[in-house]
């Protein structure tokens, strides 16, 4: 009964309502894929022993961190910065400073209000000039232009009171990917000082919105975790919604009205081509990847009844996972791929349910009185984030058993949580009453540290990818 099968549209189906060529008509110029980042000499890190490392986030207090300008061995020209490697070094420090700010853990001080260390001081800090600044931690680094045009970036974290090095790492990056070295260094600092997994070296896909509320133009867009390297992928002639990065960042799933109907496509970022995920003649919605990238979940409405299906990412037969009357939609895998949390109104209102990955053992998780929508399993597996509808729309988290609900935000309409790669920060979009203006926000698991992520235009439907490969 659950094996209802549909042909996968890797070929033009007679049901297709438009020729394949037309499906690409809203696509912009493909974006060049980033280069690879090579890690040098893994740090010989001393584990533990940090008196201030606190694992309970409710007790985190700000750690003062001085991020001095990264020094250049010699000031050389580089495609990464018009003013050479010395200027690039300071720019890298500024990116790290911005990363560490506003997340409730660090009190960063950037290179523009600090002395500039020499190249020799990177491995041998001038302790006297750092101890009186009220910072516990010191970050040094260097930039070196290699003969092959790439850049070597080194990152060093020191404990000012102990006058000792805590960790170091280096990376070789193509000049165009210099910001990734800054994110890698931010991740190194964050992970060493908090004990948590990294998250800065990652990207976000989202929907860029312009125009009046009744004629909104919605374009697929991508950017780095800090909003840099922003690109529009579609032109805006067709409404684009609900993107999801593949775990390897090579593809994006999203919904487009490019043929006049809501259909989900898989867009290849390198080639700029896209295909229907399933051509069924029916609306397909709510695309999701499995954690290993091998399967795609989608929801399909047949005669007004929406159910969740799974199809191999390489094409093949779709398997129907839900079969109750009503709307079963969405779906988010547990990190081990064994379970799926999803949304259903089979009880009369939107609630969150969990099932095994094959569709068996479906049971309701939420009984808190309000409604549960858009559940997303944390990459750590320990929490499920969702949109809690109880009067207003807010972002909330609960344990995977549906207990210990905590509401994290208090906007009028906060919707569609997506997890940072380390499962410690949640991004979502907030819509303003009446105007319909929307923007991306993020909040930590305490709910105390909330901030807006700047985007060039209004923004919705964020989808945070994993740590970059």
């Amino acid at each position: 009964m659950k094996q209802l099968i549909f042909a996968l549209a890797l070929f033009a189906s007679p049901l297709a309502s438009s020729p394949l060529a037309a499906q690409s008509s809203d696509l912009g110029t493909p974006v060049a894929e980033g280069g690879s980042v090579e890690t040098l000499g893994e740090a010989e890190a001393e584990e533990g022993g940090l008196s201030f490392t606190v694992t309970d986030e409710s007790d985190w207090s700000d750690i003062g961190v001085a991020i001095a300008g990264f020094a250049a061995d010699r000031d050389r020209p580089t495609p990464a910065n018009a003013n050479g490697t010395a200027a690039l070094g300071r720019e890298i420090s500024r990116v790290i400073t911005a990363n560490l700010r506003n997340n409730g853990i660090f009190r960063p001080v950037g290179p523009d209000s600090l002395p500039q260390p020499s190249f020799a001081q990177i491995t041998s800090p001038s302790w006297g000039s750092w101890s009186g600044r009220g910072v516990e931690m010191l970050v040094h680094g260097y930039v070196s232009a290699r003969a092959d045009g790439r850049l070597t970036v080194g990152c060093y974290l020191y404990d000012v009171a102990l006058q000792d090095e805590l960790i170091r790492e280096g990376w070789v990056v193509p000049p165009a990917d210099w910001r990734r070295a800054a994110h890698k260094c931010s991740d190194l600092i964050y992970s060493r000082l908090t004990g948590e997994s990294p998250f800065f070296d990652s990207r976000i896909a989202y929907i860029a919105e312009t125009g009046p509320k009744d004629k909104r133009i919605k374009r697929l867009a991508i950017m780095d975790s800090d909003g840099a390297n922003h690109r529009f992928l579609t032109l805006g002639s067709a409404t684009a919604l609900t993107p999801r990065y593949s775990p390897d960042y090579k593809k994006l799933l999203y919904l487009s009205y490019v043929d006049g109907n809501p259909r989900i496509y898989v867009y290849d970022i390198g080639t700029g081509r896209q295909q229907l995920v399933a051509e069924t003649g029916n609306p397909t919605l709510a695309p999701r990847w499995s954690p290993d990238g091998r399967n795609i979940l989608y929801s399909m409405a047949v005669g007004g009844n929406t159910d969740i299906y799974r199809v191999p990412a390489t094409g093949g037969r779709s398997v129907r996972l839900t079969d109750t009357p009503g709307i079963d939609i969405g779906g988010s895998y547990s990190p081990d791929g064994s379970k799926i949390v999803f949304e259903s109104d089979r009880s009369g209102t939107q609630q969150c349910y969990v099932m095994d990955a094959d569709g068996s053992n479906q049971r309701r998780l939420t009984f808190f009185g309000g409604r549960c929508a858009t559940p997303e399993w944390s990459p750590r597996g320990d929490q499920i984030a969702f949109t809690r509808i109880a009067g207003d729309f807010n972002i909330a988290v609960m344990n995977p058993n549906g207990r210990n609900l905590r509401v994290l935000t208090s906007g009028w309409q906060d919707e569609a949580p997506t997890w940072a790669p380390n499962g410690r920060i949640i991004q979502f979009f907030r819509t303003t009453r009446n105007s319909g203006r929307s923007g991306l926000w993020q909040v930590d698991l305490t709910g105390r540290n909330e901030r807006r992520l700047k985007t060039p235009v209004d923004a919705s439907d964020p989808a945070w990818g994993p740590i970059l490969p």
């Binding site: 006049g260 709510a286 409405a301 005669g303 007004g304 929406t306 929508a373 819509t431």
Partner: protein
């Protein structure tokens, strides 16, 4: 013009006989000439000066603006007002058998995006199924959901939301 109308009239008669036996007696095919007399239904006649057959304006004129039906929050059922509007639409479609429509399903903004897409589809299908029950051929009705993406009332209050929870019938050109 007359030739086209005649063709439509023939098609309309066929549909009325084949697909709507129960109601056929009261839904006689129009004369091959431009219809100028009321057939005893609520579909108003459209004179020579009115909109052209086959256009959305012609449809909306003929059904007296009842090409839109409205829903309660989170609901997709056809209430008595919706039923009356859909009966008017069915009469139009019965009379003009060459006309096909798209039913656009919409929601208000107070829902999550993906659920609203599914809910809009459900509303469009409710309207479609009701028209089918009145004898309209399923092949003449397409559905599309826009969820909360295309509001007509722009405020964020109950009055605006009630206008946005709708299914709109649109003539396919």
């Amino acid at each position: 013009m007359n030739i086209r109308l005649a063709t439509i009239a023939l098609l309309s008669g066929t549909v009325a006989l084949a697909g709507c036996a129960k109601k056929a007696p009261e839904q006689l095919p129009p004369a091959p000439e431009q219809t100028t007399t009321d057939q005893g239904t609520t579909v108003a006649p459209v004179g020579d000066t009115g909109p052209t057959l086959g256009t959305q304006a012609h449809f909306e004129d003929a059904v007296n603006g009842q090409n839109v039906i409205y829903f309660d929050t989170d609901r997709f059922n056809i209430d008595s007002a919706d039923a009356a509007a859909l009966q008017t639409q069915a009469q139009y479609l019965s009379r003009y058998g060459a006309i096909s429509i798209t039913i656009e399903g919409h929601t208000d903004e107070r829902g999550t995006r993906e659920y609203n897409l599914a809910l809009g589809e459900r509303r469009a299908n409710s309207a479609k199924n009701y028209l089918i029950s009145l004898g309209v051929d399923a092949n003449r009705i397409r559905t599309v959901s826009y969820g909360k993406e295309r509001p007509v009332a722009l405020a964020s209050n109950a009055a605006a939301w009630s206008q946005n929870r709708r299914a709109v019938s649109v003539v396919i050109n």
